[in-house]
């Protein structure tokens, strides 16, 4: 939720109160409210409604049978709840420790390879997560994982030192998949931190560690806590790692339970799946409460002032080389899976690197992959779905941010609430809810790419709000007031003042939503049907159906295409003065 405490005042002259409210403003508010309500509320209501009906559907009337199943499952053993929480907390802690350490090293020390880490963090958005997970299976599988086999040979071990198919493997993968996000989120606070306190301590003879632990870390603690909570929420909602690693490891969490309720047997148990979903939504909602509280009271910890300063970089001395090794972790986590998929794409069947395998290298997987119409279709579908979803999210959240910050409607908090509510929906839950809605309402998008686009728009509203709310907040409203006093119409103000100044935020939010939706799996999984597959669904299907050669060839092409696209978008966003 955007912070009401941060909302700009109505203007020094209180002009907004004196000027008549334009009809267009009212129309915008009403249309926006209706659009957001339609995107966000029906999934929640449908989910609750479905969870309250038995296996024979509505003909049985309302019942708590599905919740009884959930309660009995939880009472039968604590595994489901414990697994979900251990996985989520573990992944979040690993991500935060890794991402925050690297952000601190990059921004506040003279550790080498900072730029490489930045690029790796950004490009990690471009490589689909499901491809990375599959590659890690080939790297750290307990019996034939390339890294395990090498380690066993090198150290004379009898068994693999680490198995990816374990709770530890799930936590490690979740942690390293979210570390780039944490890294990017934490660099700004470290970069903008006033070094006066640290410098005073250093001048008083404090060691670097003392300064870091007693001053730097404490100043950053609220941000770290907020990022930790956000990462925790994402980990609770994680599906791909839970499915591809958790199920073989025998570690079931809420998201995989929901998935299996729908896919086990021939007739889905939607009621049970919905009841599990409601419980998961409640857990996620609980985790978000402290996050909002921290966000709302963030100004207490403000270290950015109007005073000009240049943060001092700590000289790491002999620790510079180990710090450089830490900075190379992110690039390694990105590069290793990419190398594996390139290797696997060139083989008739998967083999560990060897001279014998080198002799069997072939390019035959590539033409086979691209003769598969699902693969070709999924590329076009993804481009349409992701660009449409990104555009819709940007437009809706830009208008929402404007209504929240620039108008005096009493109900504008509802806009804020609606645009932020989807954070509580795990992707698979939102997919289930959207599926059920569009099967019955007379809006003919079921089975088309547009049902996936609608789910993406709903899911990514909060992320669009983060960019556009912050962007509009940074533009003082006196510019608009001056134009208004000079007789400019609302549309002129929007076109000539707001839009140009908001370009960086718009570009950044569009790129973010585009890149993330281009390989989002969990929302789309239940919404996909013949003809509307997107990249992530095609990759999932190829993995499930054992078309490994085609999968790897397709993944190589997609990875390079997305990285190239990300590079172009990065250059463009930097030309607009914006970081993503």
């Amino acid at each position: 939720m955007t912070n009401p405490g941060q909302a700009a005042p109505a203007g020094r002259l209180g002009m907004a109160r004196r000027l008549p409210r334009p009809r267009l403003e009212v129309a915008l508010f009403v249309v926006l409210l209706a659009a957001l309500a339609w995107l966000v509320l029906p999934p929640l209501l449908v989910l609750i409604d479905t969870s309250l009906h038995g296996s024979a559907g509505k003909q049985t009337g309302y019942t708590l049978d599905n919740y009884d199943v959930v309660l009995r499952s939880l009472a039968g053993g604590p595994e489901l709840l414990v697994n979900s929480l251990v996985f989520a907390f573990g992944g979040a802690i690993v991500a935060v420790i890794l991402g925050t350490t690297m952000a601190w090293l990059a921004e506040r020390t003279n550790a080498p390879f900072a730029n490489v880490a930045y690029l790796a963090a950004f490009f990690s958005f471009a490589v689909p997560g499901i491809i990375k997970i599959i590659a890690w299976i080939f790297l750290l599988g307990p019996n034939a994982g390339f890294l395990n086999v090498w380690a066993m040979k090198l150290f004379g071990l009898e068994s693999a030192p680490f198995s990816i198919f374990s709770m530890g493997g799930m936590i490690m993968l979740d942690g390293i998949s979210w570390a780039p996000v944490v890294f990017l989120l934490m660099t700004s606070p470290f970069r903008a931190m006033d070094p006066a306190l640290e410098e005073s301590a250093a001048m008083s003879g404090a060691s670097s560690w003392w300064v870091f632990s007693r001053i730097t870390f404490r100043l950053a603690a609220p941000t770290v806590a907020a990022v930790l909570l956000l990462t925790l929420v994402r980990s609770l909602q994680a599906f791909d790692i839970a499915a591809l690693i958790g199920i073989p490891a025998g570690v079931q969490v809420f998201t995989t339970t929901i998935f299996l309720e729908i896919t086990q047997g021939f007739f889905p148990s939607y009621g049970n799946a919905a009841a599990y979903s409601v419980v998961l939504v409640a857990i996620v909602g609980l985790a978000l409460i402290p996050y909002y509280r921290l966000s709302q009271h963030g100004q207490k910890y403000a270290t950015i002032t109007g005073k000009g300063f240049r943060p001092r970089r700590i000289d790491l001395g002999r620790w510079r080389i180990p710090a450089g090794a830490v900075m190379l972790l992110l690039p390694s986590f990105l590069l290793l899976p990419v190398l594996v998929i390139i290797w696997a794409s060139l083989l008739p069947y998967i083999q560990p690197p060897s001279l014998e395998a080198l002799r069997s290298i072939t390019l035959e997987n590539f033409p086979i992959a691209f003769s598969n119409s699902s693969i070709v279709r999924s590329i076009t579908n993804t481009l349409i779905v992701s660009s449409s979803a990104a555009s819709a999210v940007v437009i809706l959240t830009l208008v929402a941010a404007w209504v929240i910050l620039r108008t005096r409607f009493r109900g504008r908090w509802i806009i804020d609430l609606l645009a932020t509510l989807p954070l509580v929906f795990p992707g698979i839950v939102l997919g289930l809810a959207v599926l059920q809605i569009y099967l019955t309402v007379p809006i003919p998008i079921y089975g088309t790419i547009w049902i996936i686009a609608v789910a993406f728009v709903a899911k990514f509203l909060p992320y669009g709000m983060r960019y556009n709310h912050a962007g509009l907040l940074s533009i003082h409203r006196e510019l608009e007031e001056s134009a208004q006093m000079s007789g400019a119409s609302f549309l002129m103000i929007a076109r000539l003042i707001i839009a140009p100044l908001m370009v960086p935020a718009i570009v950044a939010s569009w790129i973010y939503v585009f890149l993330v939706t281009s390989h989002e799996l969990s929302e789309a999984l239940l919404l996909s049907s013949p003809g509307n597959e997107i990249l992530s669904i095609t990759i999932w299907d190829l993995w499930l159906n054992g078309q490994l050669g085609s999968l790897m060839a397709f993944s190589v092409v997609i990875t390079f295409a997305l990285v190239l696209l990300a590079f172009v978008l990065l250059r463009f966003s930097r030309s607009q003065g914006q970081t993503i």
């Binding site: 029906p42 209501l45 409604d49 479905t50 296996s55 024979a56 559907g57 509505k58 003909q59 299976i137 599988g141 307990p142 019996n143 034939a144 994982g145 198919f165 374990s166 499915a243 199920i247 073989p248 490891a249 025998g250 570690v251 299996l260 896919t263 086990q264 047997g265 021939f266 007739f267 889905p268 939607y270 009621g271 008739p348 069947y349 998967i350 083999q351 560990p352 069997s360 086979i368 003769s371 119409s373 699902s374 279709r377 599926l435 059920q436 099967l439 019955t440 079921y446 089975g447 049907s529 013949p530 003809g531 299907d541 993995w543 499930l544 159906n545 054992g546 078309q547 490994l548 085609s550």
Partner: protein, 377 residues
């Protein structure tokens, strides 16, 4: 008022609709027996219409110009959507062969587990949104599909090539499905990881100490559940508990996907592997082999035309192609067993002799049994 509106907006329960569908199907009954129990196809009782104009007529047309009429009409339609439980390269190969013969018709293919396909078809029919033209599904999926009135009865010039027990007969000399291949599930293993002495030859051998910690079951689709069905039926209800001591795990992939992990050396062996996939990979030099465990669970893949197929001519033409010599050549090249072949072991066709409801209940039970006894790490 608002409450009433919301009630209208609330989706009708899928399961309720399934029951309704089943009820309506009961009004126009279709045979639900597995194709192995079907009787022979009766000769056509009346002359086909001179000029077919809709799906039912195209599907039933038996004139000598059938292929020419279908090809001309299908070329105008320009495309066909085919869903199949076949996994691996065979789908693309079938598509490529069809498009080579009929270059004006683009095939969109989808490899999908029956447990995903059936509910999706139910949902689409509820919503009156029809995407699938033709499909090739295993016997257990066809068992459920039969109760849901999803198939268009058809005739094909290739019917004569199939034995009677491969056909699920409709009225008027037509069929609902023809079994075009058997996918035989047995024990697939990596020859570098398992010595000959460890390879099982019976289900009881799955308890061999050498296999402890080395077996993985396929958790996607119904292969794993089918295996546990056979185990419960042939070895007794407590066999799953005994198998638990073998510390097996589950991979959420199909049998075909699991074979990739066996080839890679990540998994030593699995009793949920299909013979055709192993033969295909072994032909490329992969260190894999397959042995039958009798009775072998045999997924009998049957070709059907979807009721309300959006591209009726192309749907029928594709089905003729799959059942004909061209389709047989593709299936043979991927080592799928011909349903007319003789086998050295007993076959167990999933769902045979069961009602759809009973089978759905059982498959969930067996799946739950497999997951409950799997090892957690």
């Amino acid at each position: 008022m608002i409450r009433a509106t919301w009630r209208k907006l609330m989706p009708v329960g899928i399961v309720a609709a399934m029951i309704a569908s089943a009820c309506s199907a009961a009004a126009t009954p279709q045979p639900t027996a597995a194709p192995t129990a079907a009787s022979s196809v009766a000769p056509a009782t009346s002359a086909p219409p001179a000029k077919p104009t809709n799906l039912a007529e195209y599907a039933a047309y038996q004139g000598s110009d059938r292929t020419a009429i279908l090809e001309a009409c299908a070329t105008k339609e320009g495309q066909v959507f085919w869903s199949s439980e076949l996994a691996g390269g065979v789908i693309t190969a079938m598509k490529t062969a069809f498009q080579k013969k009929y270059p004006g018709i683009a095939v969109s293919e989808q490899s999908v587990a029956g447990s995903d396909f059936v509910p999706r078809m139910v949902q689409e029919r509820q919503a009156k949104k029809y995407t699938v033209d033709a499909f090739e599904m295993s016997s257990d999926s066809q068992l459920l599909i039969a109760t849901l009135d999803m198939r268009q009865p058809y005739w094909s010039p290739a019917l004569a090539n199939y034995q009677d027990d491969a056909k699920e007969v409709a009225t008027g000399g037509l069929v609902y499905q023809v079994v075009d291949r058997y996918s035989l599930m047995g024990f697939g293993y990596n020859t570098k990881l398992l010595p000959a002495s460890a390879v099982p030859t019976t289900y009881a051998d799955l308890l061999k100490p050498e296999l402890k910690g080395k077996m993985v079951m396929s958790g996607s689709g119904s292969s794993g559940a089918q295996l546990f069905g056979v185990l419960v039926t042939t070895q007794g209800a407590d066999f799953a508990t005994k198998l638990k001591a073998q510390n097996y795990t589950i991979q959420q992939v199909s049998g075909r996907g699991l074979l990739d992990l066996i080839t890679a050396g990540e998994v030593a062996g699995s009793p949920t592997i299909y013979q055709s996939h192993v033969k295909t990979d072994a032909a490329k030099g992969a260190p894999v082999a397959w042995v039958p465990l009798s009775p072998v669970s045999a997924n009998a893949g049957g070709s059907s035309v979807a009721k309300d197929a959006p591209h009726p001519c192309a749907a029928v033409l594709l089905t003729d192609f799959i059942l004909g010599a061209d389709g047989r050549t593709v299936l043979d090249s991927f080592f799928y067993a011909n349903p007319g072949a003789k086998f050295d072991y007993k076959l167990s066709v999933p769902g045979a002799g069961m009602t759809a409801d009973a089978y759905n209940t059982k498959i969930k039970e067996w799946d739950a049994l497999m997951r409950a006894n799997a090892t957690a790490k």
